[in-house]
């Protein structure tokens, strides 16, 4: 049983009128790990998560979460999963304590356990001194911790987090991820959606979504490793002009300016000769540059995956 994936999805599709929000996604999420959904806004992350929780009815495809068929058995599933919504969905006009109490009652936490459990959560998520504060008056980070505390109230086996740290400063974000890893240590499976690369790097495993399609998946290392030798750094006194000269150049998949340098992503099969060809092209344009190979990042993975998907579509 524990070897079976927490989430098993085949051909998941969701259509809103003309818009194809999720397009035949296959997914296997292993247990006890942090699984990331990386993608820009509108790539279908939230829609997929909502279908997995049984909040949206899929247009097509099969979903099995913790061995239960969704949406048919969604009601049974609700007791075993936690879901942290993208925007704060707790009651702003209730206090921290009242919110936790309400959630505990609804989730049916046994009466004799309730007080202890709420105290435990207040302590763990550093909310003990805010117990009587109205939830609406708290900072983004505090709200996030309260939402997490509510989502894990019943110690769910599987926790969905939809862009949990988008409204949070970097320091709170680090604390928040500490809390998430604590949960995986206890055996909880986490599915986190994000559009932040640094957040995606923390995941055990990643799926990259683009316009409703799953364009790549694997561990962050495997994904970046596959691009080894294809990423280059061009240092130049006038990076803007250099970028101009390289637009449309054969073999260049992506260009991004990083300070005084340009980051280049080479097309598949360009080999080691790519550096020389680029340097030559820039010299011809009258630019003096220095070129060196650099290690690939998740951003490169993302660009590579989405660009090749685009080409497939165009072909």
């Amino acid at each position: 049983m524990s070897d079976a994936p927490a989430i098993h999805v085949r051909g998941l599709t969701k259509r809103f009128g003309q818009l194809l929000a999720v397009d035949h996604v296959d997914l296997d999420v292993p247990r006890g790990r942090v699984y990331g959904f990386l993608g820009p806004n509108g790539s279908g992350k939230s829609t997929t998560i909502r279908m997995l929780c049984g909040l949206l009815t899929p247009t097509g495809g099969d979903i099995e979460v913790l061995g239960l068929r969704v949406p048919q058995q969604a009601e049974d599933l609700r007791r075993r999963i936690g879901y942290m919504t993208q925007s704060f969905s707790l009651f702003t006009d209730l206090t921290v304590g009242e919110n936790l109490e309400f959630i505990a009652e609804i989730l049916g936490v046994p009466r004799d356990r309730k007080r202890a459990r709420i105290g435990e959560l207040l302590e763990r998520y550093h909310l003990a001194d805010r117990r009587d504060q109205l939830a609406g008056t708290m900072s983004g980070g505090q709200k996030q911790r309260l939402a997490l505390a509510c989502a894990v109230m019943h110690e769910p086996e599987l926790l969905f987090l939809d862009e949990p740290t988008s409204a949070v400063d970097p320091e709170s974000r680090r604390d928040f991820w500490e809390a998430l890893f604590e949960l995986t240590d206890a055996g909880t499976t986490l599915l986190v959606s994000t559009h932040l690369m640094d957040e995606a790097e923390r995941c055990h495993r990643l799926a990259i979504l683009d316009r409703g399609r799953l364009v790549a998946d694997g561990t962050p290392d495997a994904l970046t490793g596959a691009l080894e030798g294809r990423t280059w750094l061009v240092e130049s006194d006038s990076p803007r002009r250099a970028q101009h000269a390289l637009v449309g150049a054969p073999g260049v998949l992506g260009i991004a300016q990083v300070g005084h340098a340009l980051r280049l992503l080479a097309d598949e099969g360009q080999g080691d000769g790519f550096g020389g060809r680029v340097e030559h092209r820039l010299r011809e344009a009258g630019l003096s540059v220095r070129l060196r190979s650099t290690s690939p990042s998740l951003e490169d993975v993302f660009v590579a995956a989405t660009r090749s998907a685009e080409r497939e579509r165009a072909a």
Binding site: T57, T85, F102
Partner: protein, 369 residues
């Protein structure tokens, strides 16, 4: 249905309501303001209408009739006229609302039983017409005691005399206050629940609630029950103020009054829920509420007599909870009727509630799409 979860929802609603000071104040202030407004300002029996009287008979009998009419305070003579033509002209020019013409053959007409006087009304104002009808009731026959004497062979003069048994002074407050319980409950109860579910959706709480192991009926009932208490508080405020300010009697049993109020509260809350399950924003919910509220005020018999309405309007009125409640509450409070004497209207409210609640629960999907 899990009682613990139901209780949790109710507790949450009450806590949120307690923090919303303005709404809380409205719950108490609105009945008071409306009661005072309707009780004092909107006097359906107009008094002091501008009038002219052309008494062409000038007998002691005709003068006595004029004095009786003036004694009702409905009219106030502001102009003098001697002929019917002059009276008509005054009305046309808007100088007066009502004209009274007593023809020269007044005494002969009275003996023959023919109409003795004519009341000319500015019909462009419906309320004035109503007031004039009241004026026409001034008893003429009382001056001729033998005309009604049971032993005379001549039958009594057929005249349309409307007699009000239960409100002899024709004070509108007595009619209005019981009805006002219904109007205020209709306005507040429908609105509160109409907004209740939409608000959760607008604030983003709905996604959380749907993701919870909660059934639709737990959510719906838990949201409705706290408002029942508020409705009963409002009922009490109106009853107490009505008694204190306007001497409105409660002739029937107080328990029946509250039972009738409960039936109306239940009907309105469930109607509100149904609106809430269909509306997309609080603004829409409010608009839909007024869509129900307006016909309730106009057709239920609260403002205009039910009997004067065209058939279609009556059908619509029968679908409105307020119509049935008005019949119940006026019966109980003014005619000392029991709730069971009026079982038809009580049953109508029960059926309405059941239908609305079922429809609301069925309509509400535990899905975001």
């Amino acid at each position: 249905m899990n009682l613990r979860r139901l209780w949790a929802i109710m507790q949450k609603e009450v806590r949120q309501m307690r923090r919303d000071r303005i709404t809380l104040a409205m719950i108490l202030v609105m009945p008071i303001v409306q009661l005072v407004l309707f009780g004092y300002a909107i006097n359906l029996n107009l008094r002091g209408l501008d009038a002219a009287i052309a008494d062409q008979a000038q007998t002691s009998g005709s003068r006595a009739l004029v004095m009786d009419m003036l004694a009702t305070d409905v009219i106030r003579p502001v102009a003098t006229a001697h002929t019917p033509e002059e009276v008509v002209d005054l009305i046309r020019r808007g100088r007066i609302n009502v004209g009274v013409v007593i023809p020269p053959d007044f005494e002969a007409r009275r003996q023959d039983g023919r109409p003795v006087a004519q009341v000319l009304v500015d019909g462009s104002d419906a309320t004035v017409a109503g007031a004039a009808a009241q004026l026409a009731q001034t008893p003429v026959d009382s001056r001729l005691p033998d005309a009604r004497a049971p032993y005379t062979s001549t039958p009594p003069v057929p005249r349309i005399v409307v007699t009000s048994f239960y409100n002899p002074e024709r004070r509108s407050a007595i009619n209005i206050v019981p009805g006002l319980i219904g109007v205020i409950l209709t306005m507040t109860m429908v609105l509160f629940t109409a907004i209740a579910i939409v608000r959760e959706r607008e604030r983003g709480n709905m996604e959380l609630l749907i993701a919870m192991p909660l059934t639709s009926s737990e959510l719906m009932l838990g949201k409705v029950v706290p408002y029942v208490l508020i409705g009963l508080v409002q009922t009490t405020v109106i009853l107490a103020l009505g008694r204190w300010l306007f001497d409105v009697p409660i002739r029937g049993s107080l328990l029946d009054v509250y039972l009738a109020a409960l039936l109306l509260i239940a009907s309105n809350l469930t109607l509100g829920l149904l609106i809430s399950s269909g509306a997309r924003s609080q603004f829409q919910a409010m608009q839909m509420t007024f869509f129900v509220f307006l016909p309730s005020i106009l057709l239920s018999g609260f403002m205009f007599p039910f009997s004067g309405m065209p058939t279609v309007a009556r059908w619509i009125a029968e679908l409105l909870p307020l119509t049935h409640f008005l019949r119940l509450i006026r019966g109980i409070m003014l005619r000392n009727a029991g709730l069971f004497d009026l079982w038809g209207d009580a049953l109508a409210l029960v059926v309405f509630t059941a239908v609305m609640m079922t429809a609301a629960i069925l309509r509400f999907r535990k899905r975001l799409d």
